[in-house]
Every structure is written in C-alpha cells, then in structure tokens.
Subunit: 189 residues, 2 copies
C-alpha cells in the first residue's frame, strides 16, 4: 500500500551472450528483440562471422545507431575439408585489439563455433593456458563442442600477431578510484 | 633462424572463470597455480561464498596483495531444507555494486551454484529477462544445474535493493575515445 512499486521492463540479451573482456562481447545472432539490450552496450562495432548477408533489419539497426559492421564471413571448421581461413581470424583479432572499435560484439549464428574459435585465439594472445581456453570454448559450445575447433585453436599461431602488436598494449586505467585493465591503442611515434 | 622467438609464459585462470561485468569476475576456487593470473586482474576484493575457513595460502596471497576478503559463507540451495539466506545475497550484492570494491572476484568451490545464484540475482538487478539469466546460470553449472537454484533466482526480490540504490547508478565513462559502461558510486549530496 505505502510502498511504491518500481516498474522496470526487462531486457533480453542475445543467446549465449557474455562479456569477453572490457569492451568486447560475444553472442549468438541478435534478433530485433535483443536491440534494446544492445542499446545498453553502446556498441561501436560488430564482428559478424557468417558468410550469409546481414539481414536488412539488423543493417537498419546498425545504421540508425552508427555501429560499424565488420563482415568477416566464414563457414565453421568441419573435418576433413572445412577450415576457417587463418587470415580471417587474424583480421578479426586486429579489429578486437583496436580499442577504437570498442565496445565491439562478436557474433556468428549460435555463438558457439566460429565465435568460440575467435575468442579462443584471443585468449591465446592473452597468454591463457590451453586447458582454460578449451574450458571456456566448451562452456559456450556445450554438447555441440567440436574437436576440429579445439585443434584449430591449438594450432593457430599467435607469434606473428604478437610481433605486430608493438603499438597496442595493455594499460591500467584509473577511473573512479578503481583500476580497470583494458587494451589501449597507442599511436606510434 | 632470422625470426626471433617470442617466449611468453602462459597463465592459468581459475576454473569456470569469466568476466561478469566491468570490474566483476566469477570463478571456482582459486589455487596457487592461479595466483599469477589473478595478479593480472589487479583485484581489490574477493567475495567468498563457502562456509569453510579460507585456506592459509590464499589468506597469505590476499594479504600480500592488499586484497580485501568478504567472507559471506553459505551452503548451497538443496531441496527441501537448504536455502541460501536472502540477507547473504543482499550483502554480497551491495559489495558488488560498490565500485570502491572493484575489481572484485566472486567465487565458491566450483563457481556453479552459489556463485551462479549470486550472479543470477545481479542480472535481475541489471533487468535481464529470466530466460537469459537461466541460460547463463546453466552455461556455468552444466550437467550440475539445480532446479532449486533457478527457483531461488526467480523468487529473489530485487525491488527493495533497487530502492536502496539511489546513490549507485550506471554511468558511461569516456576513456580513450570509447564508451565503457560501468557501475559508478556517487556520494549523496
């Protein structure tokens, strides 16, 4: 009676949504029902990993919000003949590593296989041990986990990317008295 | 031959590790093998949800790094008689919501049930719809998912906490040209 009801409308994140790191998110394919939630992320870009054309509704949403689409389309890893091109993952990593693209959402169809491979390679760049990289991959892929993806992540060589990262480093940002670790882009002198 | 090998030592995150939001992490019980990784998070505090005493090795680690321990110990939800006390979750949420405690790591034993309940209640505060809250819970609990936990999360009333949150709001921080959404503490005037 005396208490005033606080009415809040709930938001619906895309399937398999999670935060990867500061400014980097992952998910399955976002539907219009997820657009309110995406608004709350204030996205600056999207990395879309399927070969299919981006749906008109989603293109319209991105256009209205000024979100840049990086369409790096590929089929997933399927033995024995299908393999995600290495250059595609390298290009996607360079998008993720450049904080001028943040906040960025990575997505494919289910957020399991292609997204899982990209995030797995990103974790290798972050020096995670392979068993932890695999544990995270499997958490999102669940019963659909693919040995071909695990092999792909293991074999993906991040050495050359590391050597290209001279201008991109981790920095600690001091905001509101707390330390937040994030990727920072530095102009080369 | 000409190429110089870049040697990097890998780090081992605790089991079931993931980022919940800016400044908030979740995991299973951290072992000494995980301390290097925890160092990289620059933690300011830990929310520990098991009733058992914190191991001496972990206490020593926290002390050496100046990390504050919030020991809010409870058994998990087990029907028909065991229920996580509501006050405990309310207290834990107030720790999470105060960015002066960030970066903060939530952990129990496996990072599935108690941690899953706390994160689930946190997502309700963030206005996530219940199906997405459950999907996230199940991603971490896997085959060990408990219906008692899902019921607990559904029934947990966040209205009163919302009313206490007058001084704590979301703000957008502009850092390095990108917008990062995070919880911000504001002193009441």
């Amino acid at each position: 009676m005396g208490a005033e009801a606080v009415r809040v409308s709930t938001m619906e994140p895309p399937p398999n949504f999670e935060m990867v790191d500061v400014g980097i998110y992952r998910s399955g394919f976002p539907e219009p029902a997820n657009f309110d939630f995406l608004d709350s992320l204030k996205l600056r870009s999207i990395v879309y990993l399927c070969p299919e054309k981006y749906p008109e509704t989603n293109v319209g949403y991105l256009r209205s919000r000024g979100i840049r689409l990086f369409h790096l389309g590929t089929d997933g890893n399927k033995e024995p003949f299908m393999t995600i091109p290495k250059d595609l993952i390298t290009n996607a990593l360079s998008v993720l590593l450049d904080i001028r693209n943040h906040p960025v959402l990575i997505h494919c169809k289910r957020g399991k296989h292609r997204t899982g491979c990209l995030v797995g390679c990103f974790r290798k760049l972050q020096n995670w041990c392979l068993s932890s990289v695999f544990e995270e991959y499997q958490r999102f892929a669940g019963a659909k986990s693919r040995i071909a993806d695990l092999k792909y992540i293991e074999m993906f060589d991040v050495t050359s990317i590391r050597q290209c990262l001279l201008g991109i480093i981790y920095q600690y940002h001091h905001t509101c008295g707390s330390q937040v670790r994030r990727l920072a882009y530095q102009e080369r002198s």
